[in-house]
Symmetry: C2
Subunit: 301 residues, 2 copies
């Protein structure tokens, strides 16, 4: 099966599970129909489900089936989707479109988007607390601990805060490479790292595996960000021929503007090599994660 087929297959599985979980939520006698509709809008119908793919494939390294990892993957996606619903708010990034559809606050209103985000964040931990996620309480609480750390003030929320502080304060042109790496490791890296280590937690694997997969997740997250910045530059370059100058004119320092395009491309290749080396102990089972790393490094859109 090709990588593209595999990620599409996993995405269908995750979408179906999220649909079921949200249908169960809406079936409760106490649910607000408007709230459950907003939750469905925030979560369903889109995305590559890249983080859930990493959860399922990191679990596969230890011989676990996709069904053993699916609820952890769904919980992580709830966190990702709540963060998008909140980040899109007028007071934050003020975005009206996402994946070609109105953002939650545009489809409903601001207060519904705030409460839908709060509800999704809470639902993520409710899912992790259930026996369906894993039969062992110690594993479930380890997932709660790792996801809370990855998504809180030292992780995603903290990174979004640092980014908005620079943005709203007009200081984003003064950021150093170290500042940007730091905030990206928190804002987008922490959830990718959790996704990669989740398989080791689900399998109750030895600490050395968990550390190895954390590192794989960090490498992948950093590559993801460089590739994203390069795509912006190269997309622009093919159109207007002065992409880096355009970035600079917008006043926003990025990883690529600070590293330079050639150094950024070289760094991507060394990160790819490190990712592959980190997965060596897992043999053939690591093939989907290796292809995920190659996909991140080489994607053209």
């Amino acid at each position: 099966m090709s990588f593209n087929q595999k990620i599409a297959d996993h995405a269908r599985l995750v979408e179906a599970r999220l649909d079921t979980l949200l249908t169960e939520l809406a079936a409760g006698p106490r649910a607000s129909a408007r709230l459950t509709a907003a939750l469905r809008h925030a979560v369903l119908g889109g995305g590559k489900r890249f983080r859930p793919f990493l959860v399922i494939e990191s679990a596969a390294l230890f011989g676990l089936d996709a069904t053993d990892a699916i609820d952890t993957a769904a919980a992580l996606e709830c966190i990702h989707c709540y963060s998008l619903a909140h980040d899109d708010l007028p007071a934050m990034d003020n975005d009206t479109l996402r994946r070609g559809r109105p953002t939650v606050w545009c489809a409903y209103d601001e207060w519904t988007a705030i409460l839908a985000g709060d509800g999704l964040l809470t639902l993520a931990f409710e899912i992790l607390s259930r026996e369906a996620t894993h039969r062992e309480p110690a594993v479930r609480i380890a997932l709660v601990a790792a996801l809370a750390e990855a998504s809180g003030a030292h992780g995603m929320v903290g990174g979004q805060m640092l980014d908005l502080e620079a943005e709203k304060g007009g200081g984003h042109q003064d950021r150093t490479l170290s500042d940007i790496r730091h905030l990206q490791a928190m804002k987008t890296g922490a959830l990718i790292r959790f996704a990669a280590e989740a398989g080791a937690i689900l399998a109750a694997a030895p600490p050395k595996d968990r550390v190895r997969l954390q590192r794989f997740g960090e490498v992948l997250g950093f590559a993801f960000q460089i590739a994203d910045d390069l795509l912006d530059v190269e997309g622009d370059a093919s159109e207007v021929g002065k992409a880096v100058a355009k970035d600079a004119a917008a006043g926003k320092a990025t990883l690529v503007s600070l590293m330079g395009i050639e150094a950024a491309r070289a760094r991507l290749l060394s990160l790819e090599a490190e990712a592959v080396a980190l997965l060596a102990p897992y043999g053939d089972r690591a093939q989907p994660l290796i292809e995920a790393a190659r996909f991140v490094v080489n994607r053209r859109s």
Copy 2:
């Protein structure tokens, strides 16, 4: 020790623990100073800490010390305080003052208040996941499950949604007694119920104790809401002499406007009796919770 002394003592203990937890959070190398300051503003410096009091005293029913329950109490207070930070936002209740101080969005700004709320919600589950909360993973995950259910779409978030739907949709004058009981049981009742049952979870008490304390929490939450509505009416009545008419003119149906003042007072007394009866099996250890129920029923401010 009098009830007032006891609740003040517990509040000091909870305040000190929250201060320590937030100081530890701020000490991390990755923290945003603005975010951690906003978290402190949202959490510290006020309130009776009524929910934490219930956690500590429900744990005391089973012979647990305050130190055995303090982190669960702190996690619950983080949920309560995040909900205030979000509810005060312009898009929600648009409040500028709370406990005599500017609300989080007024002291900082809207995006900081949104992220501080998200960070606090996440921190609550991070605290519950730690060994300091309880040495047994099974107890910690049971706390996560119960708190997530109490604070999510079927609990606090769902209740706030139903309230705002009626408020913003102009339908709050059409609400029935059953509608209001339902939404209050979710919006404010669910966290009080969790607080009351938390002691049984921490003590790994038999299911019958947990059910009994859940019921005590429901009775207390309902009494709390009736007393709150009565205070509004009676406060107004002593000033302008036509309180119920004023409520009706504002177009907002409340428990008391629908039940009538006399029936509401009678109901309060029967709820007090039920609360006391539910605690009978716990003997002298239940005295502080009995006094808490009397305090709720009889408070004049």
